[in-house]
């Protein structure tokens, strides 16, 4: 296997925002134990000064390899403070890029984080009685809950 980048290793060794949010606005649950990766993304949504809904706080819990943990950590960093619409647009590629790349073999199966975030946002919307956002399929993405 190709080596992980330094960024991946940093995010894996000392992941940011690991944990859960009690009373989260929304939770996204992706992956499953058979595949070896499970990822739960918790978000707390609130409004900013202009009245836009933003990801005020975000945490993750992940069972998985270094790539799974590092991408979890990275998505929380990327999403925090973003509007829901912008957060929803974060792709697997964005996450990988922010980590200075992932080994090809890990590019998709262990890079569920953007799926997890989308699921969390929609969980929030649905709980609010609103329509979930449409999931524009990325190559190789796999939205599982």
């Amino acid at each position: 296997m190709e080596n992980y980048s330094k960024k991946v290793m940093e995010n894996f060794m000392k992941p940011k925002n690991m944990g859960e949010i009690k009373d989260a606005s929304g939770v996204g649950k992706v992956g499953n134990p058979v595949c070896g990766d499970i990822m739960w993304i918790y978000i707390m949504v609130s409004k900013d000064k202009s009245g836009n809904e933003i990801v005020k706080d975000i945490k993750f819990k992940t069972l998985g390899c270094a790539a799974a943990i590092a991408t979890s950590s990275m998505i929380t960093e990327l999403a925090k403070g973003k509007t829901l619409a912008d957060a929803y647009k974060i792709t697997k590629a964005d996450v990988a890029k922010a980590l200075d790349g992932l080994p090809p073999i890990k590019m998709h199966c262990s890079n569920l984080a953007s799926d997890g975030l989308k699921a969390a946002i929609n969980d929030y919307l649905v709980k609010q009685g609103r329509k979930p956002m449409e999931h524009t399929k990325e190559a190789g993405s796999s939205l599982r809950s």
Binding site: M1, M9, F12, M13, P15, M18, K29, P33, V34, C35, G36, D37, I38, M39, W40, K61, T62, L63, G64, C65, A66, A68, I69, I105, C109
Partner: protein, 383 residues
């Protein structure tokens, strides 16, 4: 930071005595062993001596020892060489827990019309002798069974298997890369026709192995050429490497085996305290397990993550077999002994070496406990 190397089943560090023997040979026996002159004859003498030493180690009497580039070549050569050399029978019996180099060689032959029976193993990884007997037909060219399993350490009963294979009139090959020098092997009493061994698992150099071939078995060479090694394996003979291999067969003795087994037992005992954790393969005191192997599953933690966290603490271990780490496929061996996929993800192989110490094992136990705890805190739920 000192490294605690617990991946000796993947490969070992060259032993200083082996290095010394090789250096002497590089100085004094560097010639081409096919050359007529003194430099060639010196190399030839060292080669002959190494061949004799290693042959004796496995009590080979009616076997040619052919040096190769390692376990993979020996296994490929044994299987393909026999298939091409005796072209009538088209059926091969093996197990579901062979090394990739046996399985993929057989997969290659399947493309060319060979039929392969992959025998199940029980929870401990042992082949059922009755099933074996039933699987062998008149068309069975070869039975290939791994001696000591590289992942879970299970040692098969060679003598019983060899007896059955010969009674049923087939040829018996065993891959003994993991067991050689750790477990007795007797080519005659165990009825072994083809034996694969290599050097880099026993503190010898990488790139050196051997296949022992029963006299009279007509193998087609895998490497054609200048006619070295009785015409069965061409290529300028790597005499310094072979001298190293020969020396390496002297490294592991009774004392080393006991030392490794006791550290392994210490490790397993220490780790079994952890909740939702178990040992895969035979019990440590069963006599059916390689002396240096411990393979444990830690639920709710993933293998690669465990390996890399331990690595950051200076501890080298492996997820399943090192050879497979290029793929994400869960181990076929763990599957064969009945682990579910979600269980195999959290499986770690520790393989002890002769230089490990009880302090290292103590430290390792602490680190593994800490690591598992840390990872389990990250795990979203128990399943």
């Amino acid at each position: 930071m000192r490294t605690i190397y617990l991946d000796n089943a993947a490969t070992t560090k060259l032993h200083p005595l082996v290095r010394k023997a090789m250096s002497e040979c590089e100085e004094d026996g560097f010639g081409n062993s096919s050359s007529l002159h003194s430099a060639g004859r010196k190399a030839k003498e060292k080669l002959d001596l190494a061949r004799e030493t290693i042959s004796k180690k496995v009590f080979a009497k009616n076997h040619k020892l052919i040096f190769t580039s390692g376990g993979t070549e020996s296994n490929n050569f044994a299987i393909k060489g026999l298939a091409l050399g005796s072209r009538e029978k088209k059926h091969i019996v093996t197990t579901k827990i062979e090394h990739d180099c046996v399985l993929n060689t057989l997969g290659f032959l399947e493309k060319y019309g060979y039929k392969v029976t992959y025998l199940d193993v029980d929870k401990e990884g042992l082949v059922n002798l009755e099933a074996l007997e039933n699987a062998i037909t008149k068309d069975t060219l070869l039975v290939s069974v791994i001696h000591g399993n590289n992942e879970i350490g299970t040692i098969q009963n060679l003598k019983e298997i060899g007896r059955i294979v010969h009674e049923k009139g087939s040829v018996f090959h065993t891959d003994a890369c993991q067991s050689f020098t750790k477990q007795p092997i007797d080519m005659e009493k165990d009825n072994i026709d083809l034996l694969t061994i290599n050097a880099h698992k026993i503190y010898g150099p990488k790139g050196v192995g051997a296949l022992l071939v029963k006299e009279g078995l007509g193998l087609e060479p895998l490497l054609h050429g200048g006619g070295h090694e009785y015409g069965l394996r061409s290529g300028t003979v790597n005499v310094p490497g072979i001298v190293g291999f020969s020396k390496a067969t002297e490294i592991i003795g009774e004392r080393e085996i006991e030392h490794m087994a006791s550290l392994r037992n210490q490790l397993v005992k220490g780790l079994k305290d952890i909740d939702d954790c178990w040992l895969n393969g035979p019990e440590v005191d069963s006599g059916k397990r390689l002396c240096n192997n411990a393979n444990l599953t830690f639920m709710y933690a993933e293998g690669e993550a465990i390996v890399l966290y331990l690595d950051a603490l200076g501890i080298c271990v492996s997820t399943g077999s090192a050879c497979s780490s290029n793929t994400l496929k869960p181990s076929h061996v763990l599957k064969a002994i009945g682990l579910k996929q979600e269980q195999s993800h959290g499986t770690i192989r520790f393989s002890i070496g002769i230089d490990n110490t009880t302090e290292e094992i103590k430290y390792t136990i602490d680190c593994v406990k800490g690591t598992i705890e840390k990872l389990r805190q990250m795990c979203p739920y128990k399943y």
